[in-house]
């Protein structure tokens, strides 16, 4: 794992600051980019996302799937956690925090959107092997 990955939080923090600054200085620029849309998909974002996901997908090895039989228990563990536990606990926590605990601070519309974001996070399992 290189310096790039180890300090990912730092880079993301810097990009967040850069984004917020640029968004306030040059809102027109971002509006123009937001305009490049086709069927609800923003073209610029789609390209960036592909740049982001494709390298991970190259690492997926269907040949390796045949090896599953060797030690299926670890696999059952990740499959169970990823698909039967995680999405549901995430949705439940989202609901608990944003519909119950945080009600005084968040307006209902934003709360629903935050929950939606959390659910999407919970349903998307790890594909990156950066940490493993």
């Amino acid at each position: 794992m290189g310096i790039f990955e180890r300090y990912l939080s730092v880079w993301i923090g810097l990009c967040i600051i850069a984004g917020i600054l640029l968004g306030n200085i040059a809102p027109d620029f971002f509006e123009t980019i937001a305009g490049f849309e086709y069927a609800g998909v923003n073209i610029v974002v789609a390209i960036l996302v592909w740049v982001m996901i494709y390298p991970m997908m190259v690492q997926v090895d269907f040949g390796a799937i045949k090896e599953v039989g060797k030690n299926p228990r670890g696999l059952w563990l990740t499959l169970t956690v990823n698909w039967l536990i995680k999405p549901f606990t995430m949705a439940a926590l989202g609901w608990l925090f944003f519909k119950v605990l945080f009600v005084p601070w968040v307006d209902p519309q934003s709360a629903s959107e935050y929950i939606a974001g959390m659910i999407l996070l919970g349903v998307a399992p790890c594909t990156a092997m950066v940490f493993v």
Binding site: F30, V49, V58, I85, E113, L121, A124
Partner: protein
């Protein structure tokens, strides 16, 4: 990072990716529906095709081509060369996301902290469940470690992409997924540390 069995990790990730092609849309649609958040199914399916199926297919084709060249290092070199691009894509997306949301965030920075709290609880909770289950199952450490971390971490790139297509760039949903990225990295790093410190909990690796 946890001295896991790399081949086995690859198997796990690959199987989970394939399951994702089929399971992502139904589970996401169901949970959003239960939470009274209505999203068009077409958009959800389109996102899966666009951000999972197409990159996965392209990735498999690329891999196949490179492997056929019989030079084993070619694939590795290619993957290494691509890796930084993954980060560039992620960071670029983050700049854009926050650029689009700049005004909302300046007016409510507190929300980022609020979103981070349940995400923290979720990440640590899921890790504990997976890791303790692995211990209970008496899995060898070089399988238990990666398995729990795979279970814990999220494919946040996909979540970000889908949130943008479903709810728009300047939506709260997109903001929540980006906070997810922010929370995940430091937590995962500390969990790797925990995994390495608790090696003695597990039976030594069985050489299969």
């Amino acid at each position: 990072m946890t001295k896991g069995d790399p081949n086995y990790t690859l198997v796990q990730v690959s199987v989970n990716d394939v399951v994702m092609v089929f399971a992502f849309a139904p589970i996401a649609g169901f949970l959003l529906g239960v939470s009274d958040i209505h999203v068009p199914w077409e958009t959800l399916l389109l996102s899966v095709v666009l951000y999972v199926l197409i990159p996965l297919t392209l990735g498999v084709i690329t891999r196949h081509r490179l492997e056929r060249d019989s030079d084993e290092h070619k694939l590795e070199q290619f993957v290494e060369k691509l890796k930084p691009w993954s980060m560039v894509g992620l960071l670029g997306t983050v700049v854009l996301l926050f650029g689009f949301q700049a005004e909302t965030i300046v007016s409510q920075p507190f929300d980022i902290a609020l979103i981070a709290i349940p995400l923290l609880v979720q990440t640590i909770g899921i890790f504990l469940i997976a890791y303790l289950a692995a211990r209970f199952m008496r899995l060898p450490h070089n399988i238990a470690g990666p398995a729990s971390l795979i279970g814990t971490s999220n494919f946040f790139e996909l979540a970000v992409a889908v949130a943008i297509s479903l709810f728009g760039l300047n939506s709260g949903a997109a903001l929540a997924t980006v906070v997810g990225v922010l929370v995940e990295v430091p937590i995962m790093l500390s969990l790797v540390y925990v995994v390495n410190r608790t090696r003695h909990w597990f039976p030594p690796a069985a050489n299969a």
